[in-house]
């Protein structure tokens, strides 16, 4: 991570892809200014990202409960991971909830964004946008608390409305089948507005001429969507898939407030399990080992997405 400040001559190796003519010939490299511009970020990066990352790796080889001195235990914590049935269950429920949230946000978000971009009065469009985005800026714990009222089995609004449709009362927060569904609904309800907004931005950047030309050519709405909108929107979709994956695997507040991860581990997420292990059981070494598995999962998922994206994303 060293930045050499040795001067470099010439501009031939100018690596920035930019448009227009090359900048005036500078005789020296920009090592000095670069260091100055980067220093603030480097300091916070080293102390609060790199240091703790190394710390997680080191801690995962220790048995430590905060009070006594830690003891080096080699690969014991990783051995424990392999035999931890709860960990597997928690990864199962986390993956289930994260994938459904991802699909809902990316697919339903696209549908709502496309509908929002159809012809309608300005004021109405503004109202729709405002209401879709608003839950995104409200804190997750406030959102979860509201839904704790609404999903109450005996008195909640949701079961009341379902009752009007002659559906039996559902134990939204207390049954292992519906607790994860509740987390999915509440989290998507809160976060889908962000995806919708990013889609709107992507849709608006598609030139109108393409759409008009295809109408002249007699393409119907369905063909237009798949032949024009979807390919041109694919970088936006890819961005949302990557971001929604990372954020939905990190869910913590909703299960914490709504279900405490229960019943059993039915709605427990990996972050909640890590938190309980570290700050409930004070099993810091094992919690660090769990953290490493989580990091590996995110790295593998992102790598897969980048690999697959080459098949379906389209860049102009």
């Amino acid at each position: 991570m060293t930045i050499r400040t040795t001067p470099r001559s010439g501009v031939d190796d100018h690596p920035v892809a930019g448009s227009g003519p090359r900048p005036p010939r500078r005789r020296r490299g920009d090592g000095g200014p670069a260091l100055a511009f980067l220093t603030p970020s480097i300091i916070v990066f080293v102390v609060f990202v790199l240091g703790p990352t190394v710390g997680v790796l080191v801690l995962s080889f220790y048995d430590w409960n905060l009070l006594s001195d830690g003891t080096f235990v080699g690969f014991d914590n990783f051995d424990r991971l392999l035999h931890d049935h709860r960990l597997l269950g928690v990864y199962g429920s986390t993956t289930y909830m994260a994938l459904v949230i991802l699909v809902v946000n990316v697919v339903l978000g696209l549908l709502l964004a496309v509908l929002l971009e159809t012809r309608m009065p300005r004021l109405l469009r503004g109202f729709f946008r405002l209401s879709f985005l608003f839950p995104f800026v409200v804190s997750a714990s406030a959102v979860a608390l509201i839904w704790r009222f609404l999903l109450n089995k005996d008195l909640g609004l949701v079961n009341y409305l379902l009752g009007l449709l002659h559906v039996d009362r559902i134990d939204w927060l207390g049954s292992s089948a519906f607790a994860p569904v509740s987390i999915i609904v509440v989290n998507s309800w809160k976060t889908i507005g962000f995806s919708i907004l990013v889609y709107i931005a992507g849709l608006q950047s598609i030139p109108n001429e393409l759409r008009e030309a295809s109408i002249v050519d007699g393409a119907n709405a369905w063909t237009r969507f798949w032949r024009i909108t979807f390919p041109l929107l694919s970088p936006t979709i890819f961005f949302l898939v990557v971001i929604n994956t990372i954020t939905s695997f990190q869910i913590f507040a909703e299960p914490r407030v709504l279900t405490q991860g229960g019943p059993g581990d039915a709605s427990r997420t990996i972050v909640e399990y890590l938190y309980d292990t570290a700050f409930g059981d004070f099993d810091l070494g094992y919690a660090s080992a769990i953290g490493i598995t989580f990091m590996l999962v995110l790295i593998v998922l992102t790598a897969i997405q980048f690999r697959l994206s080459r098949r379906w994303t389209f860049y102009e």
Binding site: G55, V138, S139, N152
Partner: protein, 275 residues
Amino acid sequence: MSRLVPRVLTFLVLGIAALAITAPFLWIFRGAFSGSDAELYRLPPTLHPSNLTVHNFGNVTEQVPYFRFFLNSVIVSTSITVAQLITCSTAAYAFARLRFRGRNALFAVVIGSLMIPIQVTIVPLFLVLSKLGMTNTLWALILPGIFSAFGIFLLRQHFLALPRELEEAATIDGAGHVRTFARIVLPLSGPSLATLGILCFTYWWNDLLLPLVMISDTDRQTLPVGLVLLAGRFSTGSLGTIAAGIAMAIVPVLVVFVAAQRYIVQSIASSGLKL
């Protein structure tokens, strides 16, 4: 006729979605004025004035230091946002416009750190901050949030897309990098900076994990934890008080959001988030 059906369907879908999102807020606002638990849960809800009260709001401030929570949240989110805008924009400028050895490697490290969220490193982070004597202070909530790989990436993409001609003209006029950055690049980057600011502020305003881990004094908690503390008194307090607490947490956000919504929507929309 054939064009009417899709239009009706469009408004039906959008209308249902908007209702599903706004109804819970309206319900909690009404609940904040309910005089008893039975009244809060009365279905369908009524708006008859004899059943409504404003006492719940007073009860909130009696039960928890609500304004303290609010102030703490404002301090933490604002500090992180300002610090992130400074560190991310300077780093992004270096990555977008300066030539130095190891630039690509360093940028790869930044992008790689996207995959190490704070949840992974929370344990050593807690240890570092407690060694520095900062746990149980607001510093423990501010400092870990400042570095943002996403912010650097977002701003770098934006800086790369800026026309170089203006910067070149400035260089010919004898402006150095600091001046070019402050006088040319930053003023052209309003929407991107606003987008980063909004996303950063809302993320840290909403965060529950860090304050739960770092803070033990009630007086130093932020609003999300404060609400959970208030709701923890489900057994003793009235439900109307909890509803009032939630409403009091939402209203300021709502006011700012409605006032700035055009700007928020415009800035995120025009910054064209994609990979």
